[in-house]
C-alpha cells in the first residue's frame, strides 16, 4: 500500500502542474484586469497605469509571469494581493479558520444525520417514514442553495426574527457561545439540507443491497440480535461507498461554500475567492485554486485508500 500511495503522489505532480497552467490562463483571460478598478478615478493617468502594471509584474509576457509565480510558489512565497497588498498566505490564513468552523459543523451534522436516516429508510423501505424522507430529500436536493439560503433568511430571520441574518457573531458584544451557535444555524442548515440528500440516498441504496445478501440471513440464523446484524454486518459494509463520497467532500471543508458564505456574509474562503475574482486579484485567486486542486487530487487518493482499508477484498497493486 505504501508503494501505491507513493506512486499516486508522484502521478499527482504532473497533474497539479497542468492544472496550475490552465488555472493561470483562465484567471488571466478574464476581461478587465486588476487595474480596471482604478478607472473610476478621474486623476488616474496613463503613467499611473504603466507604473502599477510594472509594480505588479503585469508588463511581463504571460509565460514569464507564470514561471515567476510558480518559482515563488514552490518556495512557499505565494505573493501579495494586488488590492489589499497583504501576503496571500496571510489572507488565506485569516479566512481558513472561519471556513473550517462552518464546514466542519456542516460535516458533523451531515454525518450524524445521514447515518440514522439512511439506515432507517432502508430498513423501513416503502413505509410512510421512507416516503416522507425520500420526498424531503429530493426537494432539498433539487433546491439551489442561494434560493434556500434566502428563503431561510426571510422566514427565520426577517419574519419570525428567531435567528440572525448573517455574520459570524453579534458585533460589539463580548464572546458568547449561544450567540455563535445562533449565527451558525441558518448557514449550516442551508448547506447540510442540500448536501445530505445525496448521502442519504446513497446509504439507503447500499443498505438495501447489503440487507439482501446471503450473509445477512446467516447472521440472523446464528441468532444475533437485530441491532448487531444491522449495525455490525449491514451498516459496516453498506457505509463503504458513503465513505468515498464523504472523503470527496473534503476540499469543500477548506475551500468553503462560495454561495452560502456570500449569502450569509460569512468571512470565509468562499467570499475571499469571489471578492478576489471580482477584483481580478490574480495572486489570491491562484493561491486558492492551487489549494483546491491539490485537495481534490489528495482527497481522491484518501478515498481510494480508505476504501481498501475498510474493505480488505480490495488490493492495491
Amino acid at each position: 500500500m505504501g508503494n501505491y500511495i507513493a506512486r499516486r503522489l508522484i502521478q499527482a505532480v504532473p497533474l497539479l502542474f497542468a492544472i496550475s497552467i490552465v488555472a493561470f490562463w483562465i484567471v488571466k483571460a478574464q476581461p478587465g484586469g486588476p487595474l480596471a478598478a482604478y478607472e473610476g478615478n478621474p486623476d488616474f493617468t496613463e503613467a499611473d497605469r504603466q507604473r502599477l502594471e510594472h509594480a505588479f509584474g503585469l508588463d511581463q509576457p504571460l509565460p514569464l509571469q507564470y514561471l515567476t509565480w510558480l518559482g515563488a510558489f514552490v518556495r512557499l512565497d505565494w505573493g501579495y494581493s494586488f488590492s489589499s497588498q497583504q501576503p496571500v498566505l496571510t489572507l488565506i490564513g485569516e479566512r481558513l479558520p472561519n471556513t473550517l468552523y462552518l464546514m466542519g459543523t456542516v460535516f458533523v451534522v451531515v454525518v450524524l444525520l445521514t447515518i440514522p436516516i439512511g439506515v432507517l429508510t432502508a430498513l423501513k423501505q416503502y413505509s410512510w417514514f421512507d416516503h416522507i424522507v425520500t420526498g424531503t430529500v429530493f426537494t432539498f436536493l433539487s433546491t439551489p442553495t442561494f434560493w434556500l439560503g434566502l428563503l431561510l433568511i426571510i422566514v427565520f430571520g426577517l419574519e419570525l426574527r428567531w435567528l440572525p441574518l448573517g455574520g459570524l457573531q453579534t458585533l460589539g458584544q463580548p464572546f458568547d457561545l449561544g450567540d455563535r451557535i445562533r449565527h451558525l444555524v441558518l448557514p449550516v442548515a442551508t448547506i447540510a439540507l442540500v448536501q445530505m440528500g445525496g448521502h442519504v440516498r446513497y446509504l439507503r441504496a447500499s443498505m438495501l443491497e447489503t440487507i439482501g445478501q446471503d450473509y445477512m440471513r446467516t447472521a440472523r440464523a446464528k441468532g444475533l440480535a437485530e441491532r448487531v446484524v444491522v449495525l455490525r454486518h449491514a451498516l459496516k459494509n453498506a457505509a463503504i461507498p458513503l465513505v468515498t463520497i464523504i472523503a470527496l467532500d473534503m476540499p469543500e471543508l477548506f475551500v468553503g461554500a462560495v454561495v452560502t458564505e456570500q449569502i450569509f456574509g460569512w468571512p470565509g474562503m468562499g467570499r475571499l475567492f469571489i471578492d478576489s475574482a471580482l477584483r481580478s486579484d490574480y495572486p489570491v485567486l491562484q493561491g486558492i485554486l492551487a489549494i483546491s486542486s491539490a485537495l481534490i487530487v489528495f482527497s481522491n487518493l484518501v478515498a481510494d485508500v480508505l476504501y481498501g482499508w475498510l474493505d480488505p477484498r480490495i488490493r492495491f497493486s
Binding site: 478574464q30 476581461p31 478587465g32 484586469g33 487595474l35 480596471a36 482604478y38 478607472e39 473610476g40 478621474p42 486623476d43 488616474f44 493617468t45 496613463e46 503613467a47 499611473d48 507604473r51 502599477l52 501579495y80 488590492s83 497588498q85 497583504q86 489572507l91 485569516e94 479566512r95 479558520p97 472561519n98 473550517l100 468552523y101 464546514m103 466542519g104 459543523t105 454525518v111 426577517l158 426574527r161 441574518l165 448573517g166 457573531q169 453579534t170 458585533l171 460589539g172 463580548p174 464572546f175 455563535r180 449495525l231 455490525r232 459496516k236 457505509a239 465513505v243 449569502i263 450569509f264 456574509g265 460569512w266 468571512p267 470565509g268 467570499r271 475571499l272 471578492d275 480508505l306 482499508w309
Partner: protein, 563 residues
Amino acid sequence: MSRLLTLAIAIIFVATACGAPTAAPSGAPSASAAASAQIQRGGTAIIAIWQEPSTLGAPYGNQTILGVVINGTVEGLVDTANDGTYVPTLVTKVPDVANGGVAVKGDKMDVTWTLQKGIKWSDGEPLTSADIKFTWELWLKDPKVNTRTGFDQIESIDLPDDLTAVVHYKSIYAPYPRNFSSILPKHLLEKEADVTKTDYVRRPLGTGPYKITDFKAGDSITLEKNPNYRGAPDKPYLDKIIFKSVPSSQVALAQLQAGEVQAMWNLTEAQTPDVEKTAGLALQVVPGPTVERIEMNTAQNKMYTDPNSVHPVLGDIAVRKALLYATPKQQLIDKLLFGKATPGTSPISQGWAAYREPQEGYDPAKASKTLDDAGWVKGSDGIRSKNGVRASITYTTTTGDQLRERVQQVLVDEWKAIGIEVKITNQPSATFLSGSCQSNDPRKLGTYDIDMFASTPAIDPHTTMLRYHSKRIPTQADCAGENYTRFKDPATDAALDAAGSTLDLEKRKAYYATAMKALNNAYVIIWLYNRATIDARVDALQGWQPNAWRSFTWQMQDWWLKK
C-alpha cells in the same frame, strides 16, 4: 465499525479544533456624561457596508468604500463643504492668492500651509509640517500608490518651522488643496521600506475623531474614540463605530430593517420605498456630482476610428438633436429612479463651477420635425433613411445593470417612435468601462454608436472638463483621453487651456461655462440625470450632515445615538 468510528471521531476532532472561535473584543460600557442640550453621549453604531475594503491605506486604495471607512480616522489639510468650497481642518486657513497663502511666480507657484497648534496623532505624537512633506515623498517614491496626479507637479517642499510647509509647484496647479487630502504619519512610516507590508494598511494612524482598533477581514472594522483628538473630550459623542461587512445592499437593508445595524451605506433608488415604509428608519438623499449620460460617437464606428471621419447617422447634428428631444428625462427619473434624481444639465452639476443651464426638454413632435427638415424620410417599416443611409444605431452600456437596462427599454421605444432604430449591444463593465484600449473599451476604440455610463467629477472640475478637449480624443497612437464623442471645437480648447492656467475661480468658472455651453450646443451628449447619494439610518442616529462631495461618514464626531 471500529475503524469507521475512529475515522469519524478523528474528523470531528479536527473540525472542531480548527473551528475554535476567537473571542470578540469586549466593549466597555460607557457612562453617559451629562449631555449638553439634548445630545446624548456614548453607545455604539454599526454601519453595514456591502463592499469589502481590501486596504485602508489611503495611498493604495481605489475603492469608494475606503474613504467611507477611513473618514473618521485619516484627515487631510482641508475638507470640502457641501457647496464645494474648501474649509480648513488641520490648517489655520485655506491658502489662496487673496490671503497671501499662494504666490504665483511666472508659470510656477508656491503654496504655504500653516498647521494649527497642538494637533496630535492618535498615538500622542505631534502633527508637524514634516508629515506634509513625508506625505508627498511617499506618494512619489512608492511604486504601488494609486495615482500621483498633483504630487507630480510639486518640485520641492520647504519646512521653515514645525507648523509651516511651503510647497513649490513647477506649474500653476489649480486643484492644489486636494493634494493633501490624507496626511501620513512620518514618525510611524519613515523607516519602512514598503508601507504596504506594514500594519498601516489595516489600521491607519490618523488625527481624526476615531482610531481603528480592529480589522477582521471580511467581517468587521472597529473604530474607537481617539483620546488625543483635538475636539476631545467633548467629541466624538459615540464610543464606538463598527463597519460590518455584508454581502450585498439587499442584505444590508434587511439587517437595517431587522435592527441588526444602525446605518447602511449606499442604497439604490429602487430600495428607497422599503426604507420609507419602515417605521424608525430615515433616508439620507444627497444630490451628488455623479451624472449619468448618453454619449454619441460623431466619428465612424470602427477600431481606432479616425477622429476626423464622420459617422453616417450621428454625424448629422439633426439626428443628435432629435435623440435629445425624444428623451423623457423627467419620466425616467419619476418612474425608474423613484424621483430621487434630477435631470442632468452638464458634467458639473455641483460645486462652484456647476453649470445648470437645462438642455431642451422632451418634445417628440419637435424631434420628428427636426428629422423631417433634415431630409430623413420614414420608410415602410417606420425607420428613417437619408441618401440610402438607414437611421439605425447601436446602444452600449454595462450588462447586468437593471436600472440601465430599463432606461434602455424606454429609450429604444421612444426613439423608434420618431423613426430611429436602436439595437442594444451591451458589454460587461470590465470591458465597457475598462478605460483601456488593450481591454477593448469600445469608447476608447471608437467602436460604438451611442453609449451610456456615469462619471463623477472630482471636487476640482479641471480633469473632468479636459475630457472635452480635442487633444483628449483617444487614438491608436495615444490611447489616453476620454473625449469619447470625438468632439472638436477650437473655442472650447482655448477656454479649457485658459481655465487651466489661472487660479481665479470666477474666471475659471466662466471658462468652463463657455466650454460646457459649446458642448451642449453640439448635441453630442445627453445628460440624463444627476444621481443622488443615498444612505439610510435609524431615526435614533442623529447628527448627520449632508455633503455632496464626501461620503456620509465625513463628520462622525457629530453623530450621537438617542437612547
